[in-house]
Symmetry: C2
Subunit: 328 residues, 2 copies
């Protein structure tokens, strides 16, 4: 594994930590050829690793004695929990000992630690979470998905710049099309924030294609969709909820009649593929853009598969030269 990309994984963060996190990290090390450094309580992580596979016992661990809960205040964590897995992992990234960090822990604390320890990138004083969604024709990046719940119009322009650079470099989209999430297509539509942001985006050098309504997000009309972190977060989570309910409805319908049993059996692989396309954990994690380092925030409910995929995203992000390319 000489020369392999090294990625710190917060072993203590997430609803299913540490077991699922460790399992996902071990699988990623095997499948994606990366070197994972698990961060957290050494004894616990060591025994979890041993449970995964004998060879895994020798994977590197960075000891961190403190654990961060989901309800702790982000500011207090960064200030008072210097030996927490989140802060220790962030310091590894800051020091260049790893090239990326993946955490399914308290996302507010991860963002606060990133901002304070790594610092925001020049020109982008507002880091944003970028959520990736599949469309019939590709992938779109929605940001901000939750870092800034109260936004000013120029924040949205910064998000657009970050998103444009990200999609151009990581997803190889030339001249990414930027859309502004709004409650109507017309230029005159919007709340105070989006009306003003629309004007600023028009004046920018970006490939701004105008307003995008909720129904068009998933159609792939734009490559980057910008919005405030409140709306973006609600939307990101709602998309999960939709997936769940769609699969539920489908199951209900297929179980509603006896005559559906046999054809349903033959279609099982198709239905599995369908569920997979709708599954948030296929994308694994959302990158935090605009900080001096590659930070991937995984879902709090991440299982091993989601963590493995988040590590894959982290690897791709490093391979594409992030965050340096964003500095321009």
């Amino acid at each position: 594994l000489k020369g392999a990309i090294r990625i710190a994984v917060d072993g203590m963060g997430g609803d299913h930590a540490p077991s699922e996190i460790v399992k996902g990290a071990v699988e990623a090390a095997l499948q994606h050829g990366v070197e994972v450094v698990l961060v957290g309580r050494k004894e616990i992580l060591r025994s979890e690793l041993a449970r995964c596979a004998p060879w895994a016992s020798s994977l590197p661990i960075a000891d961190a004695s403190q654990v961060v809960g989901f309800h702790e205040s982000p500011a207090a964590v960064v200030r008072d929990k210097r030996d927490s897995s989140i802060v220790v992992a962030m310091n590894l990234l800051k020091g260049g000992e790893v090239s990326a960090l993946v955490s399914a822990g308290n996302s507010g604390a991860v963002m606060a630690a990133a901002l304070l320890i790594l610092g925001s990138m020049k020109g982008f004083d507002r880091p944003a979470l970028g959520a990736l969604f599949p469309t019939p024709s590709g992938t779109i990046l929605l940001l901000d998905a939750g870092a800034n719940v109260d936004c000013k119009p120029d924040f949205l322009v910064q998000f657009a710049h970050m998103g444009s650079i990200y999609m151009e470099n990581v997803f190889k989209v030339s001249h990414p099309r930027i859309g502004l999430l709004n409650n109507g297509e017309e230029e005159t539509k919007g709340n105070r924030l989006t009306k003003e942001a629309h004007k600023l985006l028009r004046k920018s050098q970006l490939n701004f294609i105008g307003n995008i309504e909720g129904k068009d997000i998933f159609r792939g009309l734009a490559d980057v969709v910008v919005t405030d972190g409140f709306t973006g977060n609600v939307l990101l989570k709602a998309s999960e909820g939709f997936s769940e309910i769609a699969l539920n409805f489908l199951k209900q319908v297929l179980n509603s009649k006896l005559e559906f049993k046999v054809p349903g059996f033959f279609l099982a692989p198709a239905l599995e593929a369908f569920a997979k396309r709708l599954d948030y954990s296929e994308y694994g994690g959302v990158p935090l853009l605009g900080v001096n380092g590659n930070v991937i925030i995984a879902h709090g409910r991440s299982d091993a598969k989601a963590i493995k995929n988040a590590i894959r995203i982290a690897k791709q992000t490093v391979e594409q030269g992030m965050p340096d390319v964003m500095r321009g």
Copy 2:
């Protein structure tokens, strides 16, 4: 049809007006036992009616010479287009000649006309659009779905009151559970608007159950979910987009292999039922709450089925004593 509920239908509003609107109105008259009054250009509506069925030629028409486009300013429509189908229909409702109004036209203009002609209800100075969503266990009402794009915290409390009364009366839910749409479950989460609204809702007499995240909206944890009209509108439209993409993915998957053809054929009725559950037009329209009259706003893209269903919702709304019960 003596004693039947009379409903005005804007014959000129919507992407598929007048033909689909007229068709939906005729079908509703047949199936739901209501009396529809089509509003718009008499000659056009008369000939559309004749195309539907010979008996339909005699359905009542309220003549209105002007047509409202989707991009016209709501204020200008109400001020200058006094003989438009929207304004004429609203006056019929105001005058008591009909008990409800359905329009798939310029929704901003319909809301402005409702506010100016019918007036807002005492105690509710901010009318809100209430969108109905199916959940595995029932129906939830999300409001505001687009009437007030910039909100103050007390607007959200008013929406909660309106939603509570609506669900209690129209959907017969006792002590409707009120949730506040937010970017996290914890009380401390939120943007400026939702943090303040949370406090006000806590102090109210409502059955407030706390914050609801995007993923939980469709799970039926609450009966009424309140949010600002910007977020609500984005979410309502995104849910449509999502339904579309889910059906698309399912079709792609089923067409991906030859061996899925035969079982797919036998499952066709199941897949149709699934599509129906995801289809926005099953609910047909969203009620405008807080004005002195029953106004149902149908989707701009409404086809005959959506209009028929919107008229059904209008009928139910009248039968449940709206808007009088809301006055308390």
